[in-house]
């Protein structure tokens, strides 16, 4: 299981939880697991998210590996200038 931290604004969609345990070995499985556990997360994930894994902000690559030791944060997708 990996622990995925969500930004606080998502608490209303995850029964008040700011961190969710998911069975996952890569970002695709993290996102799928989040949406399976909390279907209300489908909309914000579809709107665009990045995933920070051990400090590296992954904006697209679903194949990036994660492990139980990884620090994982769900973040809103970057829109730069």
């Amino acid at each position: 299981m990996v622990k995925v931290y969500l930004w606080s604004g998502l608490r209303s969609l995850t029964d008040g939880k700011e961190a969710v345990d998911i069975e996952a070995s890569n970002i695709r499985e993290v996102l799928d697991g989040l949406q399976n556990a909390y279907p209300e997360l489908k909309a914000p994930i579809a709107a665009g998210v990045s995933v920070a894994v051990d400090g590296k902000i992954i904006s697209s690559d679903l194949t990036t590996s994660v492990s139980e030791e990884s620090e994982i944060y769900l973040m809103q997708k970057l829109r730069g200038g």
Binding site: Y5, W7, S8, G9, L10, S12, L13, E40, A43, P44, A46, A47, G48, A52, D54, G55, K56, I57, I58, S59, S60, D61, T64, E71, Y73, M75, Q76, L78, R79, G80, G81
Partner: protein, 755 residues
């Protein structure tokens, strides 16, 4: 992305300052910008724009315009895709773009497009749109962010809010962000001093010199071509196809030379309109915006209203920080409130921090990104409060920032831990700079600020082809908005070992490469640079293979040195170095053309920090402010072409000076923009600016083969705050609203005098 063969020293080309490859084209007029393209039989388009801030469209009568001699087509919303559907928040972004490109049931701001005409001359087109009759029902409007959140504010669009917004907010509040960690109340209780204050900033425009312009050609067979000034032509291709019901690949988009973007050219405005007109008229259609249209109808940045609270101990330790950031993003979701919130306290290692962001709609144009969208305003509020705390506690502003600075391993205010970052290095360089130790003259004030931006990678494809004469041509997909062609050529030269001047870098059209994300997020030198290095390595591998064939030795017995294939060791054989041009001269007969490729989504952009020092004077009689000295210190990771890096630093500071001192969208009570031109919207002139000194700090980004971090956006994060701190010091009163224009300064001084 795992990086192999990372290089941190021993550069031959990288770090030098050769002439820019586009220089001659630009000074001789040979460069072709958006409005420079023509086509046989070309028509000219003009767009009818709403004079009202908010109104229901009952009827649009185009018959008189259609009957006018020389008019070949008129389009309204019904000429665009009907299968693009509204969804809440950013899930409905394609519909939001369509609604912004051409109004549907309502006009939502002064300048909103609602019909367009194509005619045989620009004059006829402009005359014809005056014949389009629109029957409106005027609606109440709101343009101020705080008023747009009030209970009785007019609703821009019901249902636009996504599920992140807590119950009880006005429908104009469409997205909500909250993040942080620790217990801020407990943190504030440990502080020796807590300061809480409120700040406002006005919307500013990116102010690119080249207005939006395009030439579109689209047949009834669904095949088309588009030439436009854009930061992202693959995005333009994708979005135009969606808005016009086209197959994406049937529309080829070519990016023109670009006269500035700064985030404002990351979306489409006139491009789908030109194509819709062309499809109807069966002729190419050119549209060029006027400056007034640029101001009224294209993206300014958000206006903001912010509350910040910070607690500090007497020794300068920050015990807690919290902030509420309300961003107005026009009549659509998308104001970057989450980034304002996440960037606000990022420079500081805090045990207790909490930030909230609100994305708020109002009757203004759809905001567009502007260099580190959302971050500069956050820094203005946060760094102003830190400055007040330093003054109240008698502490040095750089020492306080050093004491609290984020570093590798710090749990960022927005959650994850930082990798290698260079904030402390920028603060140390600022402290050591002559500017910081130079005494101020009477009447001058000095301001310090840090700033932060995330940076980005994104989908990227590069191709590098060799010519028979041993020269090279690079095809990249990211429009050159900041000197990237020079940087790509330098990185390719470094890998290939051939002179910079022997390499030409071209911005390829959408038919030539795979999808390339927009030139935004300071990503180009990082991501296209990484892809260029990888494509060059691919070429080198193929060159070594040809040498191995010639020498009849194994491929792995050949290596590449200084532009030549050489045996990799004594056992590989005794062969003279084989230069690149001798391999390419015969490449057709030794296996065919030699081309290197790289396609990927690099994910190691690396965040970036900067520290700015500003000295300012204030004329207490007139309120006029003068920036007398300015120093930018920023982490570039590795400066590929230092002159361009310095240019980015100076450009960010210059735009920040305008944003801080004079630039603002001014709306009348009628909701109409009052200053849609450069006479009344005052950007800085050369005579307004001091020499902007720059210091390049290089803390290598582990996510790039040479250590590059993007530099295009972070440079605009600290200026608003650093200038506000300098001006406030010079004026003797804290300035809490931008721009600090002469009337606002005079009013502040009067309030100080009046007590």
């Amino acid at each position: 992305m795992a990086l192999d063969n990372a290089k941190s020293n021993g550069f031959k080309f990288v770090g030098t300052r050769p002439d820019r490859p586009d220089g001659v084209d630009k000074v001789t007029g040979r460069a072709k910008f958006g409005a420079d393209m023509t086509a046989p039989g070309m028509l000219h388009g003009a767009i009818l724009r709403s004079p009202h801030a908010h109104a229901r469209i009952n009827k649009i009568d185009t018959s008189a315009a259609e009957a006018m001699k020389g008019v070949k087509a008129v389009v309204t919303r019904k000429d665009f895709a009907t299968d693009v559907h509204f969804e809440s928040g950013l899930n409905g972004e394609t519909w939001n773009v369509l609604e912004n490109v051409m109004a549907g049931e309502k006009v939502l701001y002064d300048g909103h497009a609602l019909a367009a005409v194509a005619a045989t001359s620009a004059l006829i087109a402009r005359d014809a749109i005056k014949l389009v009759r629109v029957d409106y029902d005027l609606l109440d409007h709101v343009t101020d962010v705080d008023k747009a959140m009030e209970k009785d504010a007019p609703v821009i669009r019901e249902g636009a809010a996504d599920k992140s917004v807590p119950d009880g907010f006005h429908p104009n509040v469409v997205r909500y962000h909250e993040s942080g960690h620790g217990d801020v109340d407990e943190g504030f209780s440990k502080a020796d001093l807590v300061i809480e204050d409120s700040f406002k900033t006005e919307a500013t425009h990116q102010g690119y010199i080249e207005p939006h312009a395009c030439l579109g050609s689209l047949g009834n067979d669904g095949k088309g071509d588009l030439w436009c000034t854009t930061q992202g032509h693959w995005y333009a291709q994708k979005m135009c196809a969606a808005l016009l019901n086209l197959e994406t690949s049937q529309l080829r988009v070519t990016a023109s030379e670009i006269g500035g973007g700064f985030g404002g050219k990351t979306t489409v405005f006139i491009e789908p309109v030109a194509l819709a007109l062309s499809r109807k008229a069966n002729k190419p259609v050119k549209i060029v915006m006027s400056r007034s249209e640029v101001f009224r109808s294209t993206g300014p940045t958000s206006s903001t209203s912010m509350d910040v609270k910070i607690g500090m101990k007497k020794d300068g330790t920050i015990t807690a920080a919290s902030g509420v950031f309300r961003l107005q993003g026009g009549a659509f979701p998308g104001a970057p409130a989450e980034f304002t919130a996440m960037c606000a306290f990022a420079p500081y290692a805090l045990e207790n921090v909490r930030q909230i962001g609100y994305d708020v709609m109002a009757n203004r144009p759809k905001q567009a990104a502007y260099r580190a969208p959302g971050s500069p305003m956050a820094a203005f509020a946060v760094e102003s409060v830190i400055d007040d705390l330093c003054k109240a506690l008698g502490l040095d502003p750089i020492e306080v920032r050093l004491k609290n600075a984020s570093h590798k391993g710090t749990k960022a205010s927005f959650g994850p831990r930082f990798e290698d970052i260079g904030l402390i290095e920028t603060l140390e360089a600022a402290k050591a700079h002559d500017h910081y130790s130079t005494p101020l003259k009477d009447g001058q004030g000095r301001g310090i600020s840090c700033g932060f931006w995330f940076n980005h990678g994104g989908e990227t494809a590069v191709s590098l082809a060799l010519s028979e004469d041993g020269t090279a041509q690079i095809s990249v997909g990211t429009p050159d908005i900041g000197g990237s062609r020079a940087s790509m050529a330098l990185m390719a030269a470094e890998e290939l070992g051939i002179p910079y001047e022997h390499i030409r870098c071209t911005i390829a059209d959408t038919a030539t490469l795979g999808y390339n994300e927009i030139s935004h997020g300071s990503r180009v030198t990082y991501a296209s640079g990484l892809a260029t290095i990888k494509a060059a390595k691919d070429v080198v591998h193929k060159l070594c293979k040809r040498a191995a064939q010639k020498w009849d030795i194994p491929e792995d017995a050949v290596k590449w040195e200084d532009g030549c294939a050489v045996p990799s060791g004594a056992n590989a054989g005794d062969f003279d170095p084989l230069p690149l041009h001798k391999i390419t001269a015969n490449m057709g007969a030794t296996g065919g053309p030699i081309v290197g490729h790289f396609e990927a989504t690099p994910e190691g952009a690396g965040v970036s920090f900067a520290t700015h020092i500003v000295d300012a004077e204030v004329d207490h009689a007139t309120g006029k402010t003068k920036i007398v000295r300015y120093t930018v210190v920023q982490d570039a990771g590795k400066a590929i072409h230092p002159t361009y890096v310095e240019g980015q630093y100076q450009g960010g500071a210059a735009q920040g000076i305008g944003w801080a001192l004079n630039e603002e969208y001014i709306y009348g009570d009628d909701g109409r923009l009052q200053n849609a031109g450069f006479l009344d919207y005052r950007i800085p002139l050369a005579s307004d600016l001091p020499m902007i000194d720059t210091v390049i700090v290089e803390v290598a980004n582990p996510g790039h083969p040479y250590g590059v971090r993007g530099v295009g956006e972070t440079s605009i994060c600290p200026p608003l705050a650093a200038i506000a701190n300098a001006v406030s010091a010079a004026a003797g009163i804290r300035m809490k609203q931008l721009p600090m224009s002469p009337p606002r300064i005079v009013a502040a001084l009067k309030s100080l005098k009046d007590g």
